[in-house]
């Protein structure tokens, strides 16, 4: 546990009293929690607890009706996706959201779109800054490709890849942006044990090497308890637990939510 405490820094993201509804359906109700710099923060809960909605609120895909989001000191009613990306938040999706018509390399290159400053005229002529930027960003992307060990599928269209590799490419696209915070929506869902181990290793390596803050949704309790520093537990859109893995494990409400309880 000591390493974890050393790793975690200041609070960089704080959500206060977030409520979100679609029409009459309440997805999130009055949820507050925070994320510290460099930590791995897990969000767990049964299906339909509002975990993905939570991530969508953090990076601005959904706009909550109530509550505030404070990211790096800036307090807002809601984020928008571009502002989130520009301030260093990257994410992966539960149902893989790769660009199916493009190769692995192009997919990962899109992750660097915010770093490219040349305009369309320069890119159409393909000289000077446009060419130079293409080269620099390609180099960066190749580093990510090496890091995630996907060199061999660089030029393959993503649609032809097996599920596990697609997940890895999606992580690569997120990493290519050199994010300071990474939102991972069930990065290990549907994987076999080996693939899960690989993915765990990558997540921990990224966290260690680059100090990237992680917010992670995962169903595999073993994984969550192993790699996360602190855990938020959601059930029916409400927060029912928050703390270190050990604290959460002992929380009666959490146990009830998972095992079911006679009301």
């Amino acid at each position: 546990m000591t390493t974890h405490e050393r790793r975690s820094g200041e609070v960089i993201l704080r959500l206060d009293n977030i409520s979100l509804a679609f029409g009459g359906v309440k997805a999130l109700t009055d949820i507050s929690f925070d994320v510290r710099e460099h930590e791995i923060r897990a969000i767990i809960g049964p299906n339909g607890a509002g975990k993905s909605s939570m991530l969508n609120v953090i990076n601005g895909v959904y706009h909550p009706q109530h509550g505030t989001i404070a990211y790096r000191g800036e307090v807002r009613r809601s984020m928008n996706p571009h502002a989130a990306a520009a301030s260093g938040i990257a994410r992966t999706f539960q149902n893989i959201a790769l660009f199916r018509g493009m190769s692995v390399l192009d997919n990962i290159m899109t992750g660097r779109n915010l770093k490219i400053k040349s305009n369309f005229v320069e890119q159409a002529i393909w000289i000077g800054r446009a060419r130079r930027e293409e080269l620099e960003n390609r180099r960066k992307v190749e580093e990510v490709i090496d890091f995630l060990e996907i060199q061999h599928i660089r030029k393959t269209p993503v649609g032809r890849l097996p599920y596990g590799l697609q997940k890895r490419v999606e992580l690569a696209r997120a990493l290519a942006a050199e994010p300071s915070m990474l939102l991972l929506d069930e990065p290990m869902a549907g994987m076999n044990v080996e693939e899960k181990q690989d993915m765990c290793r990558f997540v921990l390596d990224v966290n260690e090497q680059y100090g990237t803050t992680m917010v992670l949704i995962e169903h595999d309790m073993g994984v969550v308890m192993d790699i996360s520093d602190r855990v938020v537990v959601l059930d029916y859109g409400r927060k029912i637990g928050d703390g270190t893995p050990d604290e959460v494990r002992g929380n009666q409400k959490v146990i009830d939510a998972y095992l079911g309880v006679a009301h």
């Binding site: 895909v61 779109n113 080269l135 190749e142």
Partner: protein
């Protein structure tokens, strides 16, 4: 056996992202360019220039424009011809009203005007998608053509909006012969095709494809949907606009707004479906296919008439043409949705392995 990349090593990333990474392709392409710029002008007849090659190149350019919007950015448009009309009439007015206007600059300005109009009609794409948008682009098609025909100023108050393109002259040289016109069109189209290819392989092109494939994911990695879509509309319309100006100045000479009707828009759409959606090569293949198909059909009909004395009327031929177009669209969408360009790709893969099966 000869089409192998063995022994060709790329030592930097720029080589790796070249348009033709394989040496044999580069040689092949150089030969095609040489043929197009040198051999064809030496041997082709005026009929071939003005009835086949010039319209083929111009419509290929328009198809590249549509491919940028539909193939790369995923926004279906049924109004390409209207943007061509804007380019043509704008160029005409720049030539007419600005003394000493160089023709190439007039084409450029025509393209820019078309881009502006394209942005306006692209605005609905921010709120609607799919065929709702396709139907909305029909508004552009009908409105623009009506506007050019009704507002006399655009056609210098000629009756029913007919304009006669001014003589094309660059640095004192007058482009009168079909061969010289062909070379000018070929030059412009080649440069613009290269530009499109460059866009497709750099960040702008990737952003478009990202928007096409999954817009929410694109937004999340920081691509702004509005500028990306509007840029696609602008550049697509720019290409269409220049193609429209060339269509008036280099092909028809005298043109009315009705020449840029819905039928032409559909023709260009057919080109990219048959040629290949989302490829520059496909635009050329599709345009060639659509240009050559009526000729092939009339040859076939002529052959039938001679051999089995079947009398085929003129209207029958044109109906057969309609049916063939329609049938081919259905066929390609069912059997090879990526069009001729994909078939070309598969052919090359096969050739790499030949004579071995795998």
């Amino acid at each position: 056996m000869f089409y192998r990349e063995a022994g060709q090593f790329k030592t930097n990333y720029i080589d790796d992202s070249a348009i033709f990474p394989i040496r044999q392709d580069r040689i092949g392409f150089a030969i095609i360019l040489l043929l197009a710029f040198v051999a064809v002008p030496l041997f082709a007849t005026p009929y071939i220039f003005s009835a086949i090659l010039i319209p083929f190149l111009i419509l290929a350019l328009a198809a590249i424009g549509l491919n940028i919007l539909t193939g790369y950015c995923g926004q279906l448009s049924l109004g390409t011809a209207a943007f061509m009309a804007v380019g043509a009439f704008a160029s005409y007015n720049f030539m007419l009203r600005v003394p000493g206007m160089p023709i190439l600059l007039a084409f450029l300005c025509g393209g820019v005007m078309a881009a502006g109009v394209g942005i306006v009609f692209g605005l609905p794409s921010l709120r609607i998608r799919g065929f709702y948008l396709a139907v909305a682009t029909l508004a552009a098609q009908f409105f623009i053509v009506w506007c050019l025909a009704k507002v006399g100023w655009f056609s210098n108050y000629s009756s029913s909006g007919v304009i006669t393109a001014q003589q094309v002259e660059i640095l004192g040289y007058q482009f009168r012969t079909p061969a010289s016109k062909y070379l000018l069109v070929l030059g412009i189209v080649s440069i613009m095709a290269l530009g499109a290819k460059n866009l497709a392989r750099s960040n702008v092109g990737r952003s478009w494809m990202a928007v096409r494939d999954m817009d929410i994911a694109a937004e999340v990695i920081g691509i702004r949907l509005m500028p990306a879509k509007l840029l696609a509309f602008a550049i697509s319309s720019f290409y269409a606009g220049v193609a429209g100006a060339l269509y008036a100045y280099m092909y028809l000479g005298t043109v009315e707004p009705e020449a840029y009707n819905l039928d032409l828009s559909f023709r260009i759409l057919f080109m990219i479906i048959i040629g290949g959606v989302g490829t520059v090569l496909g635009s050329f293949l599709g345009s060639a296919f659509i240009a050559l198909l009526p000729i092939a059909l009339s040859l076939l009909v002529g052959f039938l008439e001679n051999s089995i004395h079947l009398s085929v009327s003129k209207s029958m031929t044109s109906n057969l043409e309609l049916m063939t177009f329609g049938g081919l669209i259905i066929f390609f969408l069912i059997v090879e949705p990526h069009g001729l360009a994909r078939l070309w790709q598969i052919g090359k893969e096969k050739l790499r392995l030949w004579p071995f099966p795998h």
